[in-house]
């Protein structure tokens, strides 16, 4: 029988506010341990939380971007549990009355647009950072003791929970790329998994294709890149199918995915009992955002990535459209095309050459880029590459590069082509034997010979002509 995956995602996003969620300690990386702390985020007796207005507004803004309803009455609760990174003994988090509910995000895929439900987006505070000393370095198991740094404690976090609407690892990855780009473009977070400013957990279960049942799900944690997430999900789907098909039962468990080995290891249990005794935080009062505030936030929303992909799909294939949008390259592409560049060529040059050269798309002159795209076959490869790498320089002009016409004179190129073919009899044999791919090899050799000045199109014609004799 064929199986279908049922996947839900839980994303935690660090808001890049200047101060913490419930105190005004600065937020930032790299400070000396515990130097960004105060009585509030250290939970000294008598200290009280005060809500960060910007964090609340940004959460609602993200909710609006995700098509959520903004709660007219949101409440912070206390989630009670003991752990050394949780100094109050409770985490302040929105719970049954979050700021954002019932949203959805459209994910354009090869099989058409998929709609992924957003159950909720709520505001909470991050935990402190703990270093485990001794034992296997950094690992909590077998460590001799632990050291706690409360600098990160109390950083505002938005938790976004999707409905179990995702059907494949690939879809999960696409969703996350769009979510991340949306967050980055709202300017509320850098959302970098490597830095931990974006953390994602996945809930995975499988069921027979076509059935509506929901089988036991497992949770995957600690995956620090979109590719690892995709691989982790695939591995877990495979594992679960194996369990069911061998007549077993999938048990509710939490796994850490080890990207290096591709292994899924059961996650250590934090609390002995999962009874968090939530109740409304009596040190804070409800949030009832005025309609004008919500409208102002709505009016500040830019056109969202998903919508832009849909718009581009008319002019480009999905892959190129997705790469441009999730790379934040689509505006430059549009401007370049407007300057007369070929759509597909412009997309390729921007997505490959420009990004490859590490040129910042924000400072590139679309007009100069369009000229280079248009001339890319006429000018020497070396000159083209150099131009692309310099595109970002202030006052860049393509003129000097466009001036360097590539050598297209057959009389000049013939002898070089002949020399290359004579020098590589083996490859010539192979090519004649059907290995067409070697054409690129021959062209490459000639380009090298000419210091990148030859016109590759002319060269390949000459090679083909000679070898077909």
């Amino acid at each position: 029988m064929t199986w279908e995956a049922v996947i839900g995602l839980e994303a935690h996003v660090h808001l890049k506010t200047r101060s913490k969620m419930f105190c005004r300690c600065p937020v930032g990386f790299g400070a000396e341990p515990n130097t960004q702390t105060c009585p509030v985020c250290l939970a000294f007796p008598g200290a009280l939380p005060v809500v960060n207005r910007t964090a609340v507004e940004w959460t609602m803004k993200l909710g609006l971007a995700l098509g959520c309803e903004i709660a007219e009455h949101a409440v912070f609760s206390r989630k009670n549990y003991f752990y050394f990174d949780n100094p109050k003994g409770y985490q302040i988090s929105q719970y049954d009355l979050p700021s954002c509910i019932n949203g959805k995000m459209i994910v354009p895929t090869a099989e058409g647009d998929r709609v992924i439900g957003i159950v909720r987006a709520h505001l909470e505070e991050d935990a402190a950072k703990t270093v485990h000393v001794g034992g296997r370095t950094g690992r909590i198991r077998g460590a001799d003791y632990s050291l706690v740094d409360f600098n990160r404690g109390g950083t505002p976090l938005v938790e976004i929970v999707t409905a179990p609407d995702i059907r494949s690892a690939e879809e999960a990855k696409r969703f996350l790329q769009l979510l991340r780009q949306t967050i980055v473009e709202l300017g509320i977070s850098d959302a970098e998994m490597e830095k931990g400013t974006l953390r994602v957990d996945a809930n995975v279960s499988v069921r027979p294709e076509g059935s509506e049942e929901l089988r036991t799900r497992t949770e995957l944690k600690n995956m620090n890149s979109f590719n690892f997430i995709a691989r982790g999900i695939d591995a877990e789907i495979e594992r679960q199918i194996g369990v069911w098909e061998s007549g077993g039962e999938v048990r509710q468990e939490t796994y850490d995915f080890d990207a290096a080995t591709g292994a899924l290891t059961p996650h250590r249990a934090k609390e002995d009992a999962d009874d968090y005794r939530y109740f409304p935080e009596p040190d804070l009062v409800p949030i009832e955002p005025p309609a004008e505030l919500v409208e102002r936030l709505r009016s500040e929303l830019p056109e969202l990535p998903a919508a832009r992909i849909q718009r581009l799909e008319g002019e480009l294939d999905l892959e190129r459209a997705t790469v441009l949008v999730t790379g934040g390259l689509d505006r430059l592409w549009g401007d370049t095309v407007a300057e007369g560049a070929d759509k597909v060529a412009a997309a390729n040059v921007i997505a490959n050459n420009l990004v490859g050269a590490g040129t910042d798309p924000a400072v590139v002159s679309a007009r100069e880029l369009a000229r280079l795209v248009e001339a890319r076959d006429r000018i020497p490869r070396a000159a083209f590459d150099e131009a692309i790498s310099k595109l970002g320089d202030p006052g860049f002009s393509a003129d000097q590069y466009l001036a360097q016409e590539a050598v297209s004179d057959e009389g000049e190129l013939e002898p070089i082509v002949a020399r290359i073919l004579d020098a590589n009899p083996g490859q010539v044999e192979a090519y004649r034997g059907g290995k067409d791919g070697l054409l690129g090899f021959f062209v490459g050799q000639v380009m090298k010979e000419t210091g990148g000045k030859a016109n590759p199109r002319v060269v390949s014609e000459l090679v083909r002509a000679r070898l077909s004799r």
Partner: protein, 94 residues
């Protein structure tokens, strides 16, 4: 019996109190009496009464996102039972 010895042990587990057997026995009896007494709130049918978590009806009390001075490290660690190069030191999770 409003509460059993087992429940008392479970609650002590949630509250992270390492109670002695003597304490568990005494608390079981005391909590049983107290829960009987406070349990009378159940008499009332309050299905459509809204809960009050606050005697003061304030909303939207918040602060602008402007960082302020944190504590000097010596103050942060002044009362720490055990500190190590700027951190609070604790035995690890087992």
């Amino acid at each position: 019996m409003a509460i059993s010895r087992e429940e008392v042990l479970h609650v002590a587990g949630l509250a992270w109190l390492a109670l002695t057997d003597e304490e568990v026995d005494r608390l079981t009896g005391e909590l049983d009496k107290i829960l009987d007494a406070v349990g009378i709130v159940a008499e009332l049918d309050l299905a459509d009464v809204p809960p009050t978590s606050h005697p003061l009806d304030l909303v939207n009390v918040w602060d602008e996102d402007v960082p302020r001075e944190s504590l000097p490290l010596e103050d942060v660690l002044a009362n720490a039972p055990e500190a190590e190069n700027g951190h609070f030191r604790v035995p690890t999770w087992r």
